[in-house]
Symmetry: C2
Subunit: 347 residues, 2 copies
Amino acid sequence: MNRNNINKPATITDVARHAGVSIKTVSRVVNKEPNVSQATLDKVQTAIESLNYRPNMSARGLAAQRSFLITILYDTYLAHSSYTSNVQLGVLKHCNQAGYEVLIHPIEYDKATVSKRLEQHLKRTRPDGLIITPPVADAQNVHQVLNELGTPYVCLSPGGPQADNFVSIDDEKAAQDLCEYLLALGHSQFAVIVGHPDHIAMSAREKGIKKAMRAAGLPLGKHLQKIQGKNTFHSGVEATEKLLTQGNLPTAIIACNDEMAAGAIHVLHQHNIDVPSDVSVCGFDDAPIAEHTWPQLTTIRQPVHQMAFHAAELLVEKLAGNASPKSRIEFSSELIIRASSCAPKGL
Amino acid sequence: MNRNNINKPATITDVARHAGVSIKTVSRVVNKEPNVSQATLDKVQTAIESLNYRPNMSARGLAAQRSFLITILYDTYLAHSSYTSNVQLGVLKHCNQAGYEVLIHPIEYDKATVSKRLEQHLKRTRPDGLIITPPVADAQNVHQVLNELGTPYVCLSPGGPQADNFVSIDDEKAAQDLCEYLLALGHSQFAVIVGHPDHIAMSAREKGIKKAMRAAGLPLGKHLQKIQGKNTFHSGVEATEKLLTQGNLPTAIIACNDEMAAGAIHVLHQHNIDVPSDVSVCGFDDAPIAEHTWPQLTTIRQPVHQMAFHAAELLVEKLAGNASPKSRIEFSSELIIRASSCAPKGL
DNA sequence: ATAGGAATTGACAACGCTGTCAACAAGAAA
DNA sequence: TTTCTTGTTGACAGCGTTGTCAATTCCTAT
C-alpha cells in the first residue's frame, strides 16, 4: 500500500509546537473547553489556521470513546422516496454544522430480523447516535436493542402514546382535516388506500379519516372502502385496480401518501375516469410527485426537512449531555388544495 | 456525560485471552492475513463468535491510518433525484460487504468554490476514498484537489477523453440511438431540452442527437431547436413553455433526462397538446418518473444501480492496492419504448 | 541426523488524541 | 502579609488497534 500522500496533515503536536503550548491546551481549544486564557486561545487559533490543522477523527474517537458519526437508519424499500432524501438533507444540515458526519444505513425491514441487523451495525460502527424513520422506528424490538446498548437516538414518527424522542406531525389530526375538507365539499362515499401496516403514522391517518366520518354521522360500513397499499406508486396502482373491480366507485379516494395517490390517478386515467370530476383523489406528504401528476394533487404538507433538522438537533443535544426538556415534538401540517379534488358530481 | 452503556463491547484483548493467543494473532484473523494455522484460526474465530467481538473502527483507523469510510459526493441540488438514491444503494451494497461505511456529503455545486468545500471535507473526515457524481465529478478543480491530497476516487460520469477511473454509459451513442429511433418513425422537426451545462454526460447526449440528425441529412439550423434546462422537472416546465412561445412546435421533444421530459409532458397537457399524437416526448435515464407520467415515457435506461456498485468495487480494489486493469468502464444502455412516442401526424 | 528456509507466533512501540491529576499563577479574603 | 480559592497549564497514561521485527516451530532437502 503506497501512500502517495505528499503533504501529511498536521497533527496536534505540530500545532502545539508551533504555538508554544502543550498539546493538551490545543486540545482544549479544539474542543472549546473553558478555562483557556484569551492570549493562549489566540496563539493556538493562529497556529491552527496557519497549519490548516484538522483533528484526526479516529484518534479523537479512540481517546474520547465516541465516533462523531450519526447514522440515518431507514428501510431499504423506501430508499428512493423523496421522504428519505429530505430526511437526509435535514439531518446533514444540522449534523455537519455540529461537527458530526452522517452515515446512511438502509436495512431491509422485516419485523423479525430488523433488530439483529441493527445490532450488527451498532457493534461494528458504533455511531454516537441515530436518526430513525418508519417503519424501522415503529418496531418495538428496535427500541429494545438501542436501549440495551445505550445508544441515543431520535425517531421521525408519531410513535406510541408514551413514546419519547419522537418528532412528527399529528397525523391523525391532519387526516381528519383532509377528510373534513372533502366532507364539506359534499363527498360521502370514500375509499382509503392505507399504507404499510407497521407504520404508525399510516394507521394514525386512517384513524383520522374514520374519526372525521363518524363525526359527520356517516356509518363506516357503507361509506368507506379500505384497501391495503404498501406506500409505493405501484401499490397505489394495484389498490386502485382492486377498487375498480369491486365495482362500487367512491366519489373520493384518499391515499395515505402521495405516491399511492399518484398510482390511483394513473389507473383512473387509464380507465377514462376523470379526476376530479368523476372521482376526487387526495394524497399525503406533499412529495414532489404531488406536483407532477395531472391534475396536481390535493394533499397534506408535512415539513419533513425541518422535522429531520430538528430531530438531529435534539439528538446532538442529547449527545452533549443536555437532556432536552421536550422529548416529543409535533410540527404542524398544512392542507394543500390543488386540482385533484372538487365537489362530487350532481351537487 | 454519563455512559449508561452497561455491557461494554469486547476488545481484541478479550478475544486474545479467550482464545489463548496474542492480540496480534487475533488481528491477523480479523484482517484475513495469511500465515495463520488452521487450528489457531478456528480457535480465534470461535472466541470472536462467542464474545460477539467487533473491531473498533476508531482504533483500527488510528493504527492503520485509514478510516474505513467512503464518501459519496454529489450536488445538493440533485439530492432528491432517483439517480442519487440509486447511486447510494449501489455503493452501499458493495461497500458494506467490503467492510466500509458510507458517508453522504452533498455540496452546493459551484464551479468556483466546489474544490474548497471538498478540501474541507477531506481534511476533516479523511475518508479512504470517494464516489463522485456529476456535476461535481466533471469539475476540473475537484480532480486537482483529490490528486494533491492523494485520495483515491471513482467518478460516475463519462469524463473527458483521457479521463481515468470513470464509470458510465456511452451517452453520446445512447442519444444517437434514441434520435435514430425517432427519425425512423418519420420525425424531422426536433427540440432538445439540454441539461446542466457543466454535466459532461448532458453535452454528450446533445452531441449524439446532433450526430444522428446530421447522419440523416437534416440541417440542424432548421430542424433542431435547443432549449436550456437544469435537469429538474421545473426546468423542463420552463423550457417547454419557452418552446411554446417560440411558436415553432416540433414533432418530437427530446429531454436530456426524464424529470425534464415529465415537465414537458405536463406543460403540453396544460396546453391541450396531445402526447404523442401531436408531439412525441422522450426522456433519458428511465427514472421512476418515466413510468409515472401519462403517457409513460419512452426513454433510455441507464443501469445506475449497477454502475454505482461497480464504481464502489473499483474503488475498494484501488484501496486494497490492486491497481485494476481497466480504469474506465462503459455499461450498455437500452432504449425503452413506451407510450410517449409515435410516428408524427400525417404519416 | 542437520542445516536452511518457510511458516507461524508474539512483544512492543507507535497511531493522535482526551481524561486525570497535579502544579502553578493570579486574585480574593483574611 | 498570609491563606484560600479559582483559573490556567502541562505531564502522562491510556484508548484498541496495526506494523515491525525478532523468536520460535515446523518442514524439506541434504
